[in-house]
């Protein structure tokens, strides 16, 4: 049977829910604030993950790169306006070491484009590390592994 896991606290779930709410509301300036300064953010696909390929679909090393992407999304990039809606399920604490917890969660993102019905855009699993010291929790790492290898045109907002 799968290795035992630690309890998931309400505070951790709340952290995730605040993260999702901020992104659902497209508060992209808030996005880097959920990460430690040297935090790592990646989106990759199951194909790359399982195959051991290092390529990411999105890769931000540190909050600077997150800020650059947030600015690009908000001010310079050309794309059809859309809404993403995030769902999370199955959060497990895989490890708890010192000031960090390591978690995994399933995510689902629904996309709504103008004049279209809402549709499943992305699903997959995230492997995260959350730093618990300091006044707020922060991701020191968040890696979203997409089942959805075939992206419907473009992936604009973070997950």
């Amino acid at each position: 049977m799968m290795t035992e896991t630690d309890p998931v606290s309400e505070a951790i779930l709340r952290f995730y829910h605040r993260y999702d709410a901020a992104l659902d509301d497209r508060l992209l300036d808030e996005w880097p604030n959920f990460f430690a300064d040297d935090g790592l953010y990646r989106i990759t696909t199951r194909e790359n993950w399982d195959g051991g390929y290092p390529l990411s679909t999105v890769l931000c090393e540190g909050v600077g790169m997150m800020r650059d992407r947030a600015v690009a999304i908000q001010t310079s990039m050309t794309y059809t306006p859309r809404a993403y809606r995030r769902f999370q399920s199955g959060t497990l604490v895989l490890d708890r070491s010192g000031i960090e917890v390591e978690t995994r969660s399933n995510f689902l993102v629904l996309e709504t484009l103008p004049d279209r019905q809402s549709q499943v855009a992305y699903c997959g699993v995230s492997y995260d590390r959350i730093r618990l010291d300091g006044p707020d929790m922060r991701f020191s790492k968040r890696v979203c592994v997409l089942d959805t290898e075939m992206i419907s045109n473009s992936l604009i907002y973070p997950i």
Binding site: L59, G64, R67, T78, M150, I151, N153, S154
Partner: protein
């Protein structure tokens, strides 16, 4: 198709120079014809990097047009490409994207093919206990997989359904082949990973997009602002003699306000990166160009952008969409730093690429614009009406080149 039939179908190529009729993007019968004349015709299609199947038995499945093919390293360490269609009742039997095999077995009735595509065994070919089985006339030798012609050129595997397609070097033409050899110089390559996206636009729109040296410095704020691709830079657009292949060449400039950048709406002198690693170029080839975008008609794009290398493969899915497969790679002997650089620069490309996401979006806009307007035309007269190599980027010459060739082989 002859002129009369064209007209009956309500399709007329515009008389005006440098125009593309919008019906080429949406008419299903044009699309069906393209499959036959272009994708299954006398053209080479990208199927793989050699590095993807390094060992005997390694295979990969991909598509040429709408046909699934298997690319496999055979017993004698050669590369073979077979159509992924069982000779019996036609099953697309191989279901994995990548794998390693000693032979291929179709699950339906377990006909077994060698890596070379030869039919090796038909269960109960002679029947069971003298009953049933294949007729005498049936010969394993006549029923192998449909094997395509293959050519490996400095790390890339090309395949064609046709016996008439000229040798790859000739196909590409001398000028293009010289460009090809810059990145693909014979050094072994190393795959870094994949991106896949479905773009709801006709496959030709992606070819246009990459051949269109006029757009990058306008559409892409990152390019115009940081001087990755802008009209004041040294640049060139070259074509092969048929017009079907092309390359855009450019050399990175700076984020400086000048007579050119000042006239670009998307230029943003104030935009500042918190982390500049995304766009830092490290010199690594003989020539100083920081952009080299090669289009190999009909379905391959070979990208060098800064230090980011990828192949991009077009897999048409009906007239209104295509799958776009990105294979990012480096050289086998890249050090850790260069690999990391390529991985970071990959942020600009792919479906979430700060630059490339925009290309997928705008060609969707163009596809939508073609809807309900089959009798209208697109205009491709930037740079005049000539089809020629240029040493500037404000031109649509490479698009004109492709459509001149397209019109001819499609019989329009």
């Amino acid at each position: 198709m002859n002129g009369l039939k064209q007209e009956q179908a309500g399709r007329c190529w515009p008389e005006e120079a440098s125009r593309v009729p919008l019906w080429v993007y949406s008419d299903p019968s044009v699309y069906a014809d393209e499959m036959e004349r272009i994708f299954y015709g006398d053209h080479w299609s990208y199927v793989a990097l050699e590095a993807e199947i390094p060992e005997v038995g390694d295979y990969k499945t991909t598509f040429i047009g709408e046909r699934s093919v298997i690319v496999v390293r055979t017993g004698d360490d050669e590369i073979a490409v077979h159509e992924n269609r069982c000779a019996h009742r036609g099953a697309r039997f191989c279901r994995e994207k990548f794998g390693k095999a000693k032979e291929f077995a179709c699950p339906y009735h377990q006909w077994v093919y060698s890596l070379e595509g030869e039919l090796q065994a038909v269960p109960f070919q002679r029947g069971v206990r003298r009953k049933g089985g294949m007729p005498e006339s049936f010969d394993l030798k006549d029923n192998g997989l449909n094997r395509l012609r293959v050519q490996c050129e400095n790390g890339i595997i090309w395949a064609t359904f046709s016996q008439e397609t000229p040798d790859f070097k000739e196909y590409l033409g001398e000028r293009m082949y010289a460009h090809y050899q810059r990145v693909y110089d014979g050094r072994p390559l190393k795959v870094l990973g994949y991106n896949r996206q479905h773009i709801p636009a006709n496959w030709k729109m992606m070819m246009e997009n990459i051949k269109d040296s006029y757009h990058p410095g306008l559409l892409h704020v990152f390019f115009s602002t940081f001087g990755l691709f802008r009209a004041d830079q040294e640049s060139a657009t070259e074509l092969d003699d048929t017009g079907r292949h092309g390359i855009l060449i450019s050399r990175k400039g700076e984020q400086e306000l000048n007579d050119v950048s000042g006239s670009i709406r998307s230029f943003d002198g104030d935009l500042e990166l918190s982390d500049t690693r995304l766009i830092e170029y490290e010199h690594e080839w003989s020539t100083p160009q920081t952009v080299g975008m090669i289009t190999v008609f009909p379905s391959a794009i070979l990208q060098q952008q800064v230090n980011s290398l990828s192949t991009r493969q077009i897999i048409p899915k009906g007239a209104g969409g295509f799958d776009f497969v990105w294979t990012h790679f480096g050289y086998a002997d890249d050090d850790e730093e260069m690999t990391q650089r390529r991985l970071l620069q990959a942020n600009l490309f792919g479906p979430a690429g700060i630059v490339s996401a925009e290309d997928g979006e705008v060609i969707e806009y163009c596809q939508e614009g073609a809807t309900g307007n089959a009798s209208q035309n697109a205009m491709i007269e930037m740079g005049g009406h000539e089809i020629e190599c240029t040493d500037y980027m404000i031109t649509e010459t490479a698009i004109r080149g492709m459509y001149a060739y397209y019109k001819k082989i499609m019989g329009f």
